[in-house]
Symmetry: C2
Subunit: 353 residues, 2 copies
């Protein structure tokens, strides 16, 4: 599955609304088929039946002609890891599922995970602030699937799911934000305290339990029960728009006071990314953040969002090893990382000359 | 005096023996004319007489045809500062002398200072380990001058000088060393303690009272009384050769253990020097040291000693302002420094393509 390493997912192309702050918007719906045990509790035989049932319905259908079908057992560990790093599948599907499979739309904007914790996880991920669009994409495929499958649904609770936090609409919406100014000025702490009170969760780049690095913050709804889909999306969108406004103000404040320093930081980041011979992923993410901020403030023009998003993904262990074409130990990855970064920068420069 | 900013002094050209550790070798003789008061104690009228006497002897003489004559009162503060930064004159001559003047050989290897603390300071500075050669150069001009001037000389004490530490041979020999491995491993401390016991002094890049930065260390004889010129030179040369050997061993040890790290450090230094937009002189000197070590260990080839020496000088405030063509405040210098560094790197790359 070569395309995983070289193709950019739709969200990585950049260019959506508020792209100078919002990296991507993601919506996913959790669904289960009536009368089948939940995937994570089911025997292998039962998950195989679920997989077969969904496949019968989907494969060779015109409406899914632009999807590729990737059973987890057929793809290498590195390709799985790269799919996780590109936010196209969950770690659970990659490493813990029984008869797990992915239906991936060719532009890599829509992922339908089969036999994740739930029978179906329908996800759309788009660049910039496109929560509504991602919700519509998810809904479109949700409706397509529901037209042929009987979902487990309860009049009182809504869609039934494995994890209680997904019961109800089964909808999880999340936005990946680049918030260097709020983080550097410490203003982020105000939000970190307040967001849980309005039903939202803040996480690092790679979801639950990951630390905030590179000033990248993921904000998502905490529960799906007791709220309509509209409420979930609009509640998140409203908080995100406040975060965007605050981040813009904080950036303007920094720009007024520290223009030379920020310019220097961005250019140094580029210099180090171009010239370093050994580089860890945490440092790389931080340098990419410095460069991104410089670009978004108009202080450096030598990059663009597409390149910055590509760098963010290719420095991850799975993508890095796929690009290198071989498995690499931790230390070897720290030597390979600057090579792949340099190649991406060179490709960008050649294309833009 | 445009040549001060663009010309490289002979020592900056690089290429002497042990150039991977020894940056330059310098010897100077302090001399006074009999029956004239020492310059630093003399009235202005008296220093004027000394200046006139020496000029009569020197100017328009064939043997000094390759010298230029620079009275301190005729040259700008910036040019003076640049001459100090290039180690061609002392800060005393530049800023405190009365009727001070410089006779500078056009290759900038020999400086004859008039009305420094002493009537005459004859200095030769050469690249690499060339103490003998520098001593010979100094001796040559010392003899030339002595053939026409009556020096203040005492049978018992030798040459009489203003400062008691110069009485005797009046000879001060010093070597500028790049000792990153001894400094990084802390082995330097052994030497710092021992050198005064053998009559030697250790200083930073800009002499007395300056800190060691960029792993650059100046070692010179402490007193000149009670030792012959031969003893002074050979004592210093012997200690220097031990320092060189220890530094070589320490470098080999680092290379065996930390090749990737040292390569990375050198390349990052180059990246930052090329891309930074704001840079202070202390950081610049440290980066130049990292780059120099990488070059001397064969880990990076994108530079040479000539460029590294040029960088070491052009980042200093005086040279920097001369190159910029205007006076600059501290903050403005930190913005100008990376511009001049980048231009020097570009000139080097163009020349070596």
């Amino acid at each position: 599955m070569k395309q995983v390493q070289y193709s950019l997912s739709r969200w990585m192309e950049g260019g959506g609304p508020e792209a100078e702050i919002v990296i991507s918007s993601r919506v996913r719906a959790a669904r289960n088929i009536k009368d089948y045990p939940f995937s994570c509790l089911a025997a292998e035989q039962e998950t195989a039946m679920v997989l077969e049932k969904i496949n019968d319905m989907v494969l060779n259908k015109d409406k899914f002609a632009d999807f590729i079908y990737l059973p987890m057992e057929d793809i290498s560990e590195l390709v799985k890891q790269a799919l996780v790093e590109k936010h196209l599948i969950s770690p659970y599907l990659a490493y813990e599922s029984s008869n797990g499979a992915l239906l991936l739309r060719k532009d890599e904007a829509v992922s339908i995970m089969i036999n994740e914790e739930d029978h179906l996880r329908i996800q759309a991920i788009l660049p910039g602030l496109m929560l509504e669009e991602a919700w519509q994409d998810t809904g479109y495929y949700d409706d397509l699937l529901e037209s042929e499958l009987d979902y487990a649904f309860d009049e009182q609770y809504g869609y039934l799911t494995t994890c209680p936090t997904n019961v109800g609409t089964g909808l999880r919406a999340s936005v990946m934000l680049h918030l260097p100014a709020l983080i550097m000025t410490g203003q982020i702490n105000r939000f970190l305290g307040a967001l849980p009170q309005v039903g939202l969760t803040v996480r690092g780049l790679y979801g639950e339990g990951t630390e905030i690095t590179g000033n990248l913050v993921q904000v998502s709804n905490q529960v799906t029960l007791g709220h309509s889909e509209e409420e979930i999306i609009s509640n998140l969108a409203s908080v995100i728009s406040q975060l965007i406004e605050q981040e813009k103000n904080a950036r303007q404040g920094m720009l007024d006071k520290k223009r030379a320093e920020l310019t220097d930081k961005a250019w140094r980041a580029l210099g180090i990314l171009k010239y370093a011979q050994v580089i860890g992923s945490t440092e790389a993410v931080q340098l990419i953040s410095d460069l991104r901020l410089g670009y978004d403030l108009g202080l450096i023009k030598a990059v663009d969002h597409r390149l910055l998003n590509e760098l963010l993904v290719l420095i991850r262990p799975g993508c890095l090893q796929l690009l290198a074409g071989k498995e690499l130990e931790h230390n070897e990855r720290n030597l390979e990382r600057p090579i792949q970064i340099k190649q991406a920068l060179d490709r960008f420069r050649e294309k833009n000359q």
